[in-house]
């Protein structure tokens, strides 16, 4: 508690900080603060108690090495629990989400090139991916998935990586008679990319990320992996939404509300 107060007493003058983050905190583990926007801050005191900041938007100041030097909550949580949202259902959907098969690689390239390039600066990957995926669905009816990559604390600490997750739309493409998955990360890649090409951009050891269907497998975080991956429907935007699939919530996201999409648009374009 004392340390927490010390955090609050730091000046927000910006003289010491290199970066300011405005986001909810997703979790704190192993000397890392994971923000909902994907950013990471390092804690010099791994035992720092940030629990008082866990239920609302936080303004956090980081130094040039991404160490957390100050943090304060800016408002209490007002968002209703996602568990009450009508786009979530109890238990796995009886009709699993099936992505559309894009007929050819040429069409996959067209989808990539149709991605809205008019995004603002410093936008979140989760918002961009959500807009791109839903834009394509609105234009052509093509249903896509999302691929999430989650970096382990050991990897983040080892390479001082600045992000703990990244997400992009994932399309299933017919390539000469067989279906393959391609990531459409318009900001980071030059075209449709295999999952391995995509993760290689972020995983400097070039090790493959372990695929999982349970967020908790990443969350318990065995230090033997660099990263984990999850693939789910285009409706999933944030890691926290994947977490709710597991008990005790056991909730699955089966849609995207117009308000959610509008929020993504407004933040991104």
């Amino acid at each position: 508690m004392k340390t927490l107060i010390m955090l609050g007493l730091f000046s927000f003058s910006g003289l010491l900080s290199a970066e300011t983050i405005s986001s909810r905190i997703h979790s704190v583990e192993e000397g890392l603060v994971k923000f909902e926007n994907g950013r990471v801050a390092f804690l010099e005191d791994a035992n720092l108690d940030l629990s008082a900041l866990s239920d609302g938007t936080v303004i956090a100041e980081l130094d040039a090495q991404s160490n957390l030097i100050a943090a304060r909550k800016v408002h209490s949580p007002t968002e209703k629990s996602i568990l009450l949202d009508p786009i979530y259902i109890q238990g796995p959907p009886t009709s699993p989400f099936v992505p559309t098969i894009v007929p050819s690689m040429a069409e996959a390239v067209n989808i990539f090139n149709r991605s809205n390039p008019r995004f603002k600066r410093a936008t979140e990957c989760s918002d961009r991916a959500h807009v791109w995926a839903h834009d394509e669905f609105k234009k052509t009816g093509t249903k896509s998935e999302k691929v999430f990559v989650f970096f382990t604390a050991s990897y983040i600490n080892r390479v001082r990586f600045k992000w703990w997750f990244h997400v992009a739309p994932l399309y299933t493409v017919n390539v000469n008679g067989s279906t393959q998955k391609f990531v459409m990360d318009y900001l980071f890649m030059n075209g449709p990319a295999t999952i391995k090409e995509w993760t290689d951009l972020m995983v400097f050891t070039k090790r493959s990320c372990k695929m999982t269907t349970r967020f908790s497998e990443y969350d318990v975080n065995p230090q033997t992996e660099e990263c984990y991956m999850m693939i789910d429907s285009m409706h999933y935007r944030l890691p926290g939404e994947l977490q709710t699939q597991e008990l005790p919530a056991n909730k699955y996201k089966v849609g995207t509300t117009p308000a959610e999409l509008k929020g993504c648009y407004n933040r991104t374009f």
Partner: protein, 237 residues
């Protein structure tokens, strides 16, 4: 108008120009992109252009720098706006190149794990227009943008906004001698920016992944400042 408020990169830029001037063209070392694209420089340039700046060499510092460049040519005015997010606190040597392909991580021709400036230039050709504080001149200026966090609530980023005279730039680009790392236009040529690439260089000195000694540079520029970090192909709106 040449600025005397030059940082290290001004000297580096001047050194680059001087070196190129002395090189006498160095045709045996000139990459093919220069030869391929000089012809289309005669096309009309006026219009709005955009480039999505995408990252490579990302292992350097754990950053994934990416951004957007907007270029407008209206009459005699050339206006360039370039913003790079998720950046380090470093000056960014950055140029529009004569070539039409961006280097990627696959451009690591010597297999040392990083794409250095020479490998990048092998793909994208020599620099044509330095995006520094003097757009009127290829050799003048030399002050490049620095990643900063001046805007509250934002990540480190570099912001570059500069305006110049198209005629002055054309005259300057047609004067002097090309070299292996700096391209020149033939007299009377005009720029067609569509398809050209922008390469951004520079990362913080204390890289998370050490830069191997095999990483090359040009004109004695420190490798952490010369190493390329992002590239974008320019498209016409």
């Amino acid at each position: 108008m040449k600025s005397n408020k030059t940082a290290v990169l001004l000297a580096l830029s001047m050194s680059l120009a001087g070196s190129c001037g002395k090189s006498g063209g160095g045709s045996s070392k000139s990459p093919n992109p220069q030869q391929e694209t000089v012809q289309d420089l005669a096309q009309a340039p006026e219009g709005s252009y955009r480039s999505i700046i995408r990252p490579f060499n990302t292992k350097l510092n754990g950053w994934i720098p990416a951004g957007i460049a907007d270029i407008k040519i209206v009459g005699d005015q050339v206006q360039v706006s370039l913003q790079l997010d998720d950046d380090g606190h470093v000056n960014h040597f950055q140029n529009i190149h004569i070539g039409t392909k961006c280097p990627t991580d696959k451009s690591d021709f010597n297999g040392d794990g990083m794409v250095d400036i020479n490998e990048a230039y092998r793909v994208a050709g020599p620099a044509l227009i330095p995006l520094d504080n003097d757009l009127d001149s290829q050799v003048g200026g030399g002050v490049f943008p620095m990643g900063s966090n001046r805007e509250p609530g934002r990540f480190y980023r570099s912001v570059y906004n500069e305006t110049g005279s198209y005629k002055k730039l054309m005259a300057d680009l047609s004067t002097g001698t090309a070299g292996p790392s700096l391209a020149k236009l033939s007299s009377g040529d005009r720029i067609n920016l569509a398809g050209k690439v922008i390469i951004i260089h520079g990362t913080e000195a204390n890289t998370a992944t050490p830069i191997p000694a095999s990483v090359g540079t040009i004109n004695n520029m420190p490798t952490h400042l010369s190493i390329p970090i992002a590239c974008g192909v320019i498209t016409k709106d």
